[in-house]
Symmetry: C2
Subunit: 672 residues, 2 copies
């Protein structure tokens, strides 16, 4: 690449783009760690996007109608940080750039949502950003239909690298976006032909434009260092009704000795090479130095956005007070006022009627009363709508012909669904939930972990939560998944025992601000165990005494979900023999652990033997069997020794010894 | 679809294909559960494949040079079971078909590897089969190059549905297979335009042939009910040097009232409709009835294979005795005799030299001595070769120009890599290992669980196993992953403390027959803690006393991996204050749990306080802190409270309180 030619062809543009490159080089050198090549390669695209197209206001980073800029290739975080610093985001002063990758800095190795206002999503695990962006774009479509173009009408721009496109989740995103004709989604592919291991063709020969085209995208191929070509391509992309992919041919680490090599992907810290690159750029030579006129030009881009924002504010202020309040409620992620009373009414009705239903059906019953009062919910399933019971009568299908619809047929795309849910929640004004079989959390883990890490209150409706699903067999029967999810920080794992607990779990999920929720629900019918109506949400305490011992308390049975009724039956057997037995329902360990010690000790006092019952592996249960007591007690576990099997559910429960009789026998063995 | 026309056009073919359809209908009806539509739609393709092309011998299901038949759309398991019964596999008598989906039957809801010889892999979780098949085909290529075409020269045939192709892992498989030009891989796409939620276009409009074409595949589109077209397409596919995709336009549940509907995907059990379908087919009307001449025709296909097998056996017997022995050793999955001595020599050298190295480097040092004596290893990385340290000098790169190479650049495809590794191991004659960052087990979980469920001894080289990776931050720092993996049944999770334990872990991984292994390895340098050479593999016991208390034993420190040296330093602090402290290294919980109780109690006797040290979440540790003791003792944990952060590693260890000082302080607090 002839740097001199690039400099002279578009000198003003060049200086602006160069500021990104030199800040990147300096920050990575100071940290002695990071990824220099991507920001240096994509600086031209970013500069044109921010200067000519992106709708953003650095003084109001959360303005709802801003365009979203998603750096899917998150290792190139310095691109984002440099853009934020240059355009004047308050959270991104130069001191943060100088502190790149250091303890307490907002400039983490990869962009972390929540560290600085202006970081739209956490990226780094490849493919997540492009998959999030589908959710951002869906939320925008729905809200544009709901509030009108004067209030919501913006684009989602994504920068994705070769790695993002090799990850399978990208295909799920591309397929979903293409079918949904998400015309406001524009993806720049950083086509530099380099990955960590070498040139891309060592691992992939995919014709990416053809691949996107095959899924219904608008595709362009340009020189990613030509500002006029970039501008023209963005203009065309904005005017096409399909999602757009712009393949930008770029040089990784442009102008550096490591240009076009896999070395250029990583940390370029050699001081001589760094200075040589700056010299070739014609850039200021000082560390972190940006010429005043260049900084001013960048800040002017931000100022342009402030004017656009003000125009929007005027339009927004013209809305009725009630519309404004409703808009603000949805964007604040606050549950509607009616929610609590609605849940209470359902609980009362259920406690009185005491139906026997599967908790997946309980969830549907709850959604049937929730969705009409929560217009911000966006539901869906990864091709298991009838099994996950995620669709309610009022929702309507979201598709290119119906942007008011709130139900999404995600296709067989668990990972893409979870990542899109993250994007919707991050967009604001949306509260996504989505379903699949619980076993296939395995497929969605990459995005579910990011829900937890980012503090995104998405709700995962995971049905068929144990061997209770029966004949489909061990590939479909989760046994370790409750443990996996419970081990994940900042995740509420609910396993409700009946419809009442399911409704309570939904209430907690919908009022959560910073924690995703997983609802583990049964395929098989369960009796109502909460037959006495309580207005209080008992699930909020995580665990509670469902049935206390009669007579001397000799045993405590702890159980979740479908095994709570087994524990109650075991209690009957034990009480019949005069063994006083308490049953504790534990629908959410995380919430129980968050209660004060006094409450926990009231629920699980020292003394009695303890037996836990859950149709999963024991892993993690020792915390409650032994972990927190004043004196040594005996404990045991009734559950799965390993993987399940294919057979009718009742037979499986018997064969694996998860029955009232087995539970009672273990209690008696402990009591000697 | 005009059934009468199909019947009359190819009457002999029709009868054979019909047998698959009626067995499916009867088995699903008897089980009142299952998936009828796919076997009914793909019966014609299967019949032509088995009759005209597939190289198989029902009397020798494990014959190494057989073609592999992979039912990626595993819910259509009755297709496979019917084929096996009809052609005469010993493990698949009619009684098994009649027992479909029942306790103890070989005919599980989805095909389970190990249930019956002839089931090549476990499928059901969509996309796994097609991704496995890439591994099958790679193993075949390598072995064809190694042993010559007379010994290894077969095809891998796959049946994949719309769901398989929507799953992201399919793109990883398609991309990898296309780049690798796996000409012996032939995928039939069951193009029936139906998924569970409805027609495919509700979720996807992807032009699949174009998508495969974009990744370098040979593509054909045919009528999947026309036996001549099927035959011709397979012939062309076999003769093309690229992997082939044959798009077969089919009718789901052909000839049944539910044909071409999403209802047809599931269990078709209505007796009247069932009888009507049989009548339209002109099939025998009895339950599970197959006309004798039709059964004989199917068995003749199997007999044809027996002759081909015999020819192969003659060629194999002509090999030298040593070649035969080596071939058989590799197919039996037995480690080479030299392995043990080689590992011992490395251990001795390390214990004497006591180098400070990262365990990812320790793993490379081990592989450098292992790979030259284990020609069956196939290594690789998901685009992190230099970081995972998975490549050794002798391996050579596997690519279209070098089929002798044993190292695979998988690209940024963790899930595809893991699924391909399963395929290689299942093919036989190969022992795969592959690397990525440990955090990205999240992406590979779908396939890793199947390694465990199938009992496939693949080895996962998971480096950068904690906050010790430093600046890349929380997206790249596993904290819950050790717990997730340990919670998974039949998985050995090794977290070695130094090079000696790493070498021991590799020895165990390479001698494992039925259990996959995960090696959790550090980015950061670690001191050698095993400075006294022991010939015995101490890691095989899972946990052992690394340093015992001097004086009265008041405390036990348990640690794994990088925290073992922290525990040793804490012991020094405590012993200096006269507190007798034992340090137990616990590189593999699963193996420790498998020791007899006497050994476990010797290592972890009752009495002393216990503190566990691990740079991950506490989840699961209570098992060892409290779970198995004769009297109540106190315990505590030094580790991560939640997600990590971006900063240099040393700073993170200090900030999160994972130091010798913190550990010693917790011990003293417990001792009061």
């Amino acid at each position: 690449m002839d740097i001199a030619e690039l400099r002279s062809a578009h000198p003003d543009h060049w200086k602006k783009a160069t500021a990104i490159r030199t800040l990147t080089l300096d920050a990575v050198a100071a940290a002695n760690s990071g990824h220099s090549g991507m920001p240096m390669g994509m600086a031209d695209v970013a500069t044109v996007l921010f200067e000519k197209h992106l709708k953003f206001d650095p003084k109001a980073p959360h303005w709802p109608d801003r365009d979203r800029f998603i750096l899917s290739a998150g290792h190139g975080s310095m691109l984002l940080y440099a853009l934020m610093y240059l355009t004047g985001y308050e959270d991104m002063p130069l001191s943060e750039i100088k502190d790149f990758r250091q303890w307490g800095a907002k400039t983490a190795g990869h962009p972390e949502f929540g560290h600085a206002r202006g970081i739209e999503t956490t990226t780094g695990p490849l493919g997540q950003g492009i998959a999030n962006s589908v959710g951002f774009a869906i939320a925008e479509e729905i809200q544009r239909a709901r509030w009108g173009k004067k209030i919501i009408d913006h684009h989602t721009y994504v920068m994705a690298g070769d790695g993002c496109l090799m990850e399978g989740v990208s295909q799920e995103a591309i397929g979903l976006a293409g079918m949904q004709k998400l015309g406001h989604l524009i993806v720049f592919w950083d086509n530099n032909n380099i990955t960590i291991d070498g040139t891309v063709d060592m691992a992939d020969i995919t014709n990416q434009p053809m691949r996107f085209d095959a899924s219904g995208w608008h595709v362009q191929e340009i020189d990613g260092h030509d500002p006029e070509a970039i501008d023209a391509a963005i203009e065309l992309a904005k005017n096409d009704p399909r999602p757009s992919m712009i393949a930008c041919k770029t040089h990784i680490a442009l102008g550096h000795a490591a240009q076009d090599t896999s070395k250029g992907h990583g940390a370029l810290t050699d001081p001589t090479q760094l200075q040589a690159a700056k010299e070739a750029y014609g850039a200021p030579m000082g560390d972190f130095e940006v010429a005043a006129d260049v900084k001013a030009a960048w800040e002017a881009m931000g100022a342009r956005g402030a004017a656009t924002h003000q125009d929007w504010q005027t339009r927004f202020d013209a809305l009725s007070a009630s519309k404004q309040a409703e808009f603000n409620r949805q964007y604040a992620g606050e549950a509607p006022k009616k929610l609590s009373a609605t849940i209470r009414a359902l609980k009362k009705q259920i406690s009185e009627g005491a139906p026997k239903v599967a908790t997946r059906k309980s969830s549907e019953m709850t959604l049937e009363v929730i969705n009409p009062i929560c217009p911000e919910t966006i539901g869906g399933s990864a091709d298991l709508t009838g099994s996950n019971n995620t669709l309610t009568a009022d929702m309507g299908t979201f598709n290119p012909d119906n942007r008011q619809g709130r139900y999404i047929y995600y296709g067989v795309r668990e990972h893409g669904m979870a990542a899109a849910m993250n994007g919707m929640a991050l967009h604001g004004g949306a509260r996504p939930y989505g379903g699949t079989f619980m076993c296939f959390t395995d497929y969605a883990r990459g995005a579910m972990r990011l829900s937890a890490l980012m503090g995104v209150p998405a709700t995962y409706v995971m049905t068929h939560d144990s061997i209770g699903l029966g004949e489909d067999g061990p590939t479909h029967q989760p046994v370790e998944h409750l443990a996996m999810l419970r081990a994940t920080p900042n995740m509420h794992v609910f396993r409700p025992a009946d419809t009442v607990e399911t409704a309570e779990a939904w209430e907690l999920a919908l009022t959560s601000q910073k924690t995703p929720s997983v609802l583990a629900l049964t395929r098989q019918g369960l009796p109502t165990v909460r037959t006495e109506h309580k207005t209080k949400n008992l699930t909020a305490q995580g665990a509670y005494v469902l049935a206390d011992a009669e007579g001397k308390r000799q045993a405590i049975l702890m159980a979740t979900g479908s095994e709570v009724s087994i524990a109650l039956a075991a209690r009957d057997l034990l009480q019949a023999e005069g063994i006083g037995t308490r049953v504790v329902s534990m629908p959410c360990w995380e919430l129980f652990a968050a209660q004060d010690e006094a409450y926990r000790k009231r629920v699980l006092p020292a003394g009695p033997v303890r037996v836990a019952v859950e149709a999963g592996v024991r892993f993690g249960w020792d915390q409650w069997l032994f972990g927190e007591r004043g004196k040594r007690d005996k404990g045991d576990f009734v559950g799965m020794p390993g993987f399940g099997a294919s057979a009718p559910a009742d037979r499986l429960y018997k064969e694996f010894g998860i029955t009232a009789e087995d539970t009672a026998a273990k209690v008696k063995a402990l009591l000697g």
